[in-house]
């Protein structure tokens, strides 16, 4: 195993979806910069992601964001020791912008480069808030976002086992679609949570898809339920109560499966990552469960829950430390499983 010198600043690049981000992390633990230019405001105009606009904006924003990150870190480009970039999965046109920039930098600076799986990046966001996780393997990881909902067992650096996944919709997608049914504007998830804060979560019992003993999730049923409920209700039930009941149904399913997984696999350290990890109720319920069951729960700061490049840089550092760099001709993939 090659021991990396210290300090070892890795520059990460992330352009798999809406965010153009460049981050600089030293020794896989210390964030020196995490510059993010989001397209969310723009996509709100359109009501969703526009792939062509997304790619073009990544091109326009790449260099300014890179400069911002270097300035934030007070480093020159020659101080960077390695490059890490998201190369899978995502919108191909968007991914290619980041990958091309990364390859150009690595070639020009003659330093190592690694392509990182976007979800692996999310896993490593936990190491940025809790560097001691390195000595806490195995870890149980819930990745929960607009595109993904899965439970992974992280046995060591680079060693993942998929324990459960959604069989239909992702949890973030269920939030967004539920919000649209409630008539809330984009981004639906956060708006639904805000509305739910003052609502009665016990007002309606939306069904939880148990999926038997499996650690899989299903969120399309609860989505259909809220629709059927709204059609019958004729606007009698306050929207706050519907939002709170709906949010609770989704969050309880997530927390329940994490508890079940921790018992089944005897894992004491639970991590949450991905955009939905910023959900207040999910954080609260996870922490309550952890306290009740004597389990450690790690949840990154909101900025590290969204798509960002600091997590990619951290993942890149550990890949270089425990594995090897890629050659410059590595590929970019729209879809690929991490485990």
């Amino acid at each position: 195993m090659p021991d990396l010198p210290s300090p070892y600043p890795v520059l990460g690049i992330e352009t798999s979806c809406d965010e153009t981000s460049v981050g600089i992390v030293v020794d896989g633990a210390h964030i020196r910069a995490n510059a993010i230019a989001s397209q969310a405001d723009l996509h709100a105009l359109y009501g969703g992601v526009v792939p062509e606009v997304a790619s073009r904006l990544h091109v326009e924003r790449m260099l300014p964001v890179l400069h911002t990150a270097l300035e934030e870190a007070q480093l020159g480009i020659r101080d960077i020791k390695a490059i890490a970039t998201t190369n899978r999965p995502g919108l191909l046109g968007a991914l290619l912008v980041g990958v091309s920039a990364a390859k150009a930098l690595a070639y020009a600076l003659d330093i190592p480069i690694v392509g990182i799986h976007h979800l692996e990046g999310h896993l490593y966001s936990n190491f940025l808030v809790a560097p001691d996780l390195e000595s806490a393997f195995p870890l149980l990881m819930l990745i929960v976002s607009g595109g993904h909902t899965q439970i992974m067992l992280m046995e060591a650096h680079g060693r993942y086992r998929l324990l459960g996944r959604t069989r239909d919709d992702a949890a973030g997608e269920a939030f967004d679609k539920g919000a649209r049914l409630l008539g809330l504007p984009y981004p639906g998830g956060p708006n639904l949570s805000r509305l739910a804060e003052t609502g009665d979560p016990k007002r309606i019992h939306f069904p939880r898809a148990g999926m038997g003993d499996s650690l899989d999730f299903s969120f399309s049923g609860v989505k259909t339920s809220i629709r059927a409920f709204l059609e019958r209700d004729n606007g009698q039930t306050p929207l706050e109560d519907i939002a709170a009941s709906y949010e609770t149904a989704i969050v309880e399913a997530l927390v329940e499966k994490m508890l079940r997984a921790s018992r089944e696999y005897g894992v004491k350290t639970l991590c949450v990552a991905g955009g939905v990890a910023a959900n207040r109720l999910l954080q609260l319920r996870m922490r309550e469960m952890g306290e009740r069951e004597g389990l450690r729960v790690v949840i990154p700061d909101p900025i590290l829950c969204t798509d960002n490049a600091a997590m990619i840089a951290a993942a890149g550092y550990f890949r270089l430390k425990h594995g090897s760099p890629h050659s410059l001709d590595f590929d970019t993939y729209a879809t690929e499983r991490l485990a």
Binding site: F206, S220, T335
Partner: protein, 162 residues
Amino acid sequence: MMLRVILNSREETLRLGMTLGERAVDGTVIALVGDLGAGKTTLTQGIAQGLGVTHPVTSPTFTLVQEYEGRLPLFHCDPYRLERAEDLLSFGFDEYFERRGVVVVEWADKVSDMLPEDLLAVTLSLAPSETIDSDNHPRNCEIEAYGVASMSLLLAVKEAFA
């Protein structure tokens, strides 16, 4: 020609999908129409089973398109997040119709201008019911053929599913 069926459960939706998948041929295009929760993804999961796809089929809303390997390749498209139909072109949506395989398009009414003429349109809707248990919520299903190829598929499905 149109076929109307009532799907009384998730299992029946899956079974209709499997029948479609088993009888689909290279070039089959299935256009799904129906609101959130109408059963489009479930039907597609059935189609995938019928095509012998072993990889789990999940909602492609976030990724826009998912490809699966089966007896024939399956391309599962979902323009739900897109505001304008033309945006599908930016990632080569039209090319899927030239490739060997079966294409399933959710929210097909949003992109009707961009679909080939000969397609099988499947319209799903929730039937009135007291239940909020989505697995047992009855769905109305209308299947309509718009060409020679889709007509022969519809006839095969009608025979098998009746």
